[in-house]
């Protein structure tokens, strides 16, 4: 090989590699309006502009923590029926993995995600600086605790964490009805809870500390410690199933709609409230460098609208919209319980580690 050809060869290799790198770094094609313009757009022709833009985009990618066959798919179908020119794609994972994935992608400047949801994942992405605030006309219909003041997120549905119990093992009139009742020696070793930050022991501890105050709360928890509550890394759903199987009479902190669903299927289980109930908020947010801002805004509008909220309702989820009741209405505050502590994403982010630490140091021996 002559030096000349060798050089040419090398140059070409370098060029090919550079082209490859370039291909993967190429910014997404953007329209005239910036992402921020689209996200914050107000005015009469907003819908028209969004539809036109979305028509060109043709699809969107939703990073979701929701259950695919229960709710993501129904939402996708309802939305695509409304906007047949938009294809909704989704990636499902739990909060931790979803966030890890999105952060790693953003660091590598790969912008796949348009929307991200979860009770804690959007706030983690927000704190990392990778969320775009947005405006939706439907925000006006929601109370203050169910939307971000700066418009970083809206809420699609709620979760209420209550005890669930095996109806063959415990009669309803014997149940520990208050936090104080849980300290009765009768329940020692009879309860189970999950270690999950967002739905298990740590957030229960958070609820106690917030509602009773730090000092009284800690004094209470010190007594609760003596009750030898079994811990598991299993999900709340599985802990409830262990309760149905009779392993533990009481699952201390589970999603009330799970107990309702099992009860409807004939399982010997029910839920009841110890007030104040822990409530968590499923939020949805817009990625900072969303490649499909118009389509994403249409989906955000859709899930926040009453029409979209009805899809959540029909899927047995508890809609956030104040005017849309749950299919089984008493799962939301009202008939069976009144008071709930709403764990906003900010509280969860700022206080969560403290609660996890408290759980680890005090309850894990």
């Amino acid at each position: 090989m002559t030096p000349y050809r060798k050089n040419l060869c090398r140059t070409m290799t370098i060029m090919a590699l550079a082209a490859l790198v370039f291909m993967f770094r190429l910014p997404q094609p953007s329209g005239a309006a910036s992402i921020e313009d689209v996200a914050m757009m107000k005015g009469a022709d907003r819908q028209k502009i969004l539809v036109e833009g979305a028509r060109k985009e043709g699809k969107l990618m939703w990073y979701t923590t929701l259950i695919v066959d229960q709710v993501v798919r129904p939402v996708k179908e309802a939305f695509e029926k409304e906007y047949p020119f938009i294809q909704v794609e989704f990636y499902r994972g739990n909060a931790e993995n979803l966030v890890r994935r999105m952060l790693a992608e953003y660091q590598a400047k790969r912008y796949d995600a348009d929307l991200v949801d979860g009770t804690v994942s959007p706030i983690m992405v927000k704190r990392a600086g990778f969320l775009q605030p947005f405006y939706s006309p439907y925000f006006a219909e929601y109370p203050a605790e169910l939307k971000d003041p700066q418009g970083f997120w809206g809420s699609t549905n709620l979760y209420f964490l209550t005890p669930g119990y095996n109806t063959r093992m415990v009669k309803s009139n014997e149940l520990p009805k208050t936090y104080h009742d849980l300290l009765n020696p009768r329940w020692k070793g009879q309860m189970m809870w999950s270690t999950s930050r967002g739905s298990g022991a740590p957030i229960f501890i958070g609820n106690v500390l917030l509602s009773m105050g730090q000092e009284a709360g800690k004094a209470y928890l010190q007594k609760l410690k003596g009750q030898s509550i079994a811990k598991s890394t299993a999900s709340n759903r599985q802990i409830l199933d262990l309760t149905i199987a009779g392993e533990y009479p009481i699952a201390l902190h589970i999603f009330n709609h799970h107990a309702y669903i099992s009860k409807t299927a004939g399982a010997p289980v029910d839920w009841y409230a110890i007030e104040p109930v822990t409530a968590t908020i499923q939020t949805i947010a817009l990625a900072k460098s969303t490649p499909h801002p118009h389509a994403s805004m249409l989906l955000l509008d859709f899930v926040l609208s009453e029409k979209g909220q009805k899809v959540f309702q029909q899927s047995n989820y508890l809609p956030s919209h104040p005017k849309v009741p749950a299919k089984q209405a008493d799962l939301k505050p009202g008939a069976r319980f009144k008071r709930a502590v709403y764990m906003t994403p900010d509280i969860q982010f700022d206080k969560g580690n403290e609660w996890v630490d408290y759980f680890q140091n005090q309850f894990l021996k």
Partner: protein, 592 residues
């Protein structure tokens, strides 16, 4: 024997020393080192280094730096190591960990070893059951297998119920205890021991045992003094692997230990993931420490097996081991085999099957019979993209099993047959992935392919790369132990007859290695079908895999749906393994 410091790492220029034992192709002179086979070997080593080093780098980094909210490296710190040492000072978790790992390793080796001896070396009836049990129990999704045991041995489970009725005492067995952890972990790993030992037993030199028998030794004596000693490399491999796996495992301590307040070293690490943002520093530091320990162990292992000829069981003489006649004892052995299959497979599988047929879980009873339904199977089949997931998982299993076994066969050949300096580093390199925490390794691989311009992010290829890296350690244990048993003279005979290296490899070494290769292949196939911690990060909307689907069902579905799906999936996996095994064994036998 290797005394070189690590700085002479991986001297793969193939300048072999002409030491006293240096023979074979690489013993001749440096000119040989440029022959085609050396390129194969260099290639294999480079591929392994390419797969293993980036995650290794990432694990080290994770253990030494804090991260910012965006996941970028922040400050250098030794805090994670300090945390870890503080954790080590609390004596109880440390002791629990040691008991748990040693107990599981010993129990699994005992169960798997005895059963594999019965199956491969004796004339016990029903021997085929051994393989079937191993495949089927190992093919059951991990979570489901554990849940099966929790339901069986739990407070309200049938075992405690019947024990209670018989002995008039409540809650006799407590599965949520150290003993329960050892029991489940050992059962989980005994198929691995079985497959590995079976491969080794099948390659046993019968003349040594016959000689022993001729000298008047009884079966027990022969077993103890001849067979077991010859099996030392295989024994060491399984003990080491299971010990390490148990030492660093999160799953059983979390599901079985935690509810009973049995705390081990990984418990604190596990709960770190609950922090926001999740930190893996302690997990990283933990695995770095383990790596140092394992590096030391491997060095010792290398010294123990350095005199490789002591373990040769396949020589130029007729080697196909004869079956030992157990006489009347064979019915007892068959009974033992039945018990093994019943406990390892039938019990947990039946309870899973039971759960899959119920709308919600009820303890087995006549009352519950009226509730039986196939509803869960209907929802399992309708799980989103489930056929894609099954197809992807099977493809990945086939791919990673094949790539791992081919790579590790060559790697073992380098380790066993050549006298390259720093070979043990290659051994270390092929063992390290065992010690990477799955989640850290998944992250490392994800970041690596997001940065380097190799466009496999979001495809099945990234999963294949991850799986191959993760399962190299298992493959190498199979092929290494197998190759140690193979006497050099067989290859030398081929060279003497004028065969090229490739020819000798293809016609002599590989066919003789078939049992190990097959055992390892099936094992990696089944393992990759279960892999979760990396898959969960690396799958994309278009590359769903079964283990992730199982996990989603576990997190959000009900026990019945999970069980129904598990039953279907186990059936598919076992069918593929059995078909492959029968096919490949026949093919392998013909080759010989």
């Amino acid at each position: 024997m290797v005394r070189q410091p690590p700085s002479e790492a991986l001297d793969l220029s193939l300048k072999s020393r002409r030491g006293r034992t240096a023979r074979g192709v690489f013993g001749l002179n440096t000119a040989v080192s440029f022959s085609p086979e050396s390129w194969v070997l260099v290639g294999v080593s480079v591929i392994i280094a390419y797969l293993v080093l980036p995650p290794l780098y990432s694990v080290l980094q994770t253990s030494l730096f804090t991260t910012t909210l965006t996941g970028e490296l922040d400050e250098f710190t030794l805090r994670f190591y300090a945390d870890l040492f503080r954790e080590f000072q609390v004596i109880e978790p440390f002791l629990n960990t040691v008991y748990f790992s040693i107990g599981s390793a010993l129990l699994a080796t005992l169960i798997g070893g005895v059963v594999s001896w019965i199956v491969t070396r004796t004339d016990t009836p029903l021997r085929g059951l051994g393989y079937f049990t191993a495949f089927a129990s190992f093919g059951t999704p991990f979570i489901l297998y554990t849940i099966g045991w929790l339901l069986l041995l739990g407070k309200a489970g049938p075992v405690n119920y019947w024990l209670g009725r018989l002995l008039d005492q409540k809650g006799l067995l407590n599965i949520y205890s150290l003993g329960g952890m050892v029991f489940v972990e050992a059962l989980l790993w005994s198929p691995f021991v079985f497959l590995m030992m079976a491969a080794s037993f099948r390659s046993m030199d019968p003349t040594l045992e016959e000689a022993s028998a001729v000298c008047g030794a009884r079966i027990g004596q022969t077993l103890r003094r001849i067979s077991l000693r010859l099996m030392l490399p295989a024994f060491f491999s399984v003990l080491l692997l299971i010990f390490i796996r148990a030492f660093e495992s999160f799953e059983i301590p979390a599901l079985v230990g935690l509810p009973g307040d049995v705390r081990v070293l990984t418990t604190a690490i596990l709960l770190d993931a609950q922090r926001m943002p999740p930190t893996y520093g302690r997990a990283g530091a933990f695995s770095v420490l383990l790596m140092l320990v394992v590096a030391g162990t491997l060095y010792v292992y290398f010294r123990v097996t350095r005199d490789e000829s002591s373990f040769h069981t396949i020589t130029g003489k007729g080697y196909r081991p004869a079956l030992i006649s157990l006489g009347r004892w064979r019915y007892l052995a068959a009974g033992g085999l039945l018990v093994y299959s019943f406990v390892l497979l039938a019990l947990p599988f039946l309870i899973i099957l039971w759960a899959s047929l119920l709308p919600f879980y009820i303890q087995p009873s006549f009352e519950a019979l009226s509730k039986l339904t196939l509803k869960n199977y209907v929802s399992a089949i309708h799980f989103p993209k489930i056929t894609d997931a099954i197809k992807n998982s099977i493809l990945l299993g086939l791919g990673s099993a094949t790539v791992v076994m081919v790579l590790t066969t060559f790697a073992s050949w380098i380790l066993v047959r050549t006298k390259l300096r720093g070979r043990w580093l290659l051994d270390l390199l092929t063992t390290l992935p065992l010690l990477f925490p799955g989640i850290v390794m998944g992250l490392a691989i994800m970041r690596f392919y997001l940065i380097v311009p190799i466009p496999i992010y979001g495809t099945l290829w990234i999963l294949l790369a991850a799986f191959v890296t993760r399962y190299i350690p298992y493959g190498i244990r199979y092929t290494h132990a197998g190759l140690l048993q193979l006497h050099r003279e067989l290859e030398e005979a081929a060279y003497a007859s004028g065969a090229s290296w490739a020819n000798a490899m293809r016609r002599v070494t590989l066919p003789l290695l078939t049992p190990s290769f097959l055992g390892g292949w099936v094992f990696v196939f089944l393992l990759s079908a279960k892999e979760l911690s990396m898959s969960i990060l690396l799958v994309s909307p278009r590359t769903q895999v079964v283990s992730v689907a199982v996990y989603e069902l576990w997190e959000n579905g009900q026990v019945g749906e999970l069980a129904a799906f598990g039953v279907i999936w186990t059936t598919i996996l076992v069918s593929v393994s059995v078909v492959y095994y029968l096919f490949a064994r026949r093919y392998g036998v013909q080759q010989q």
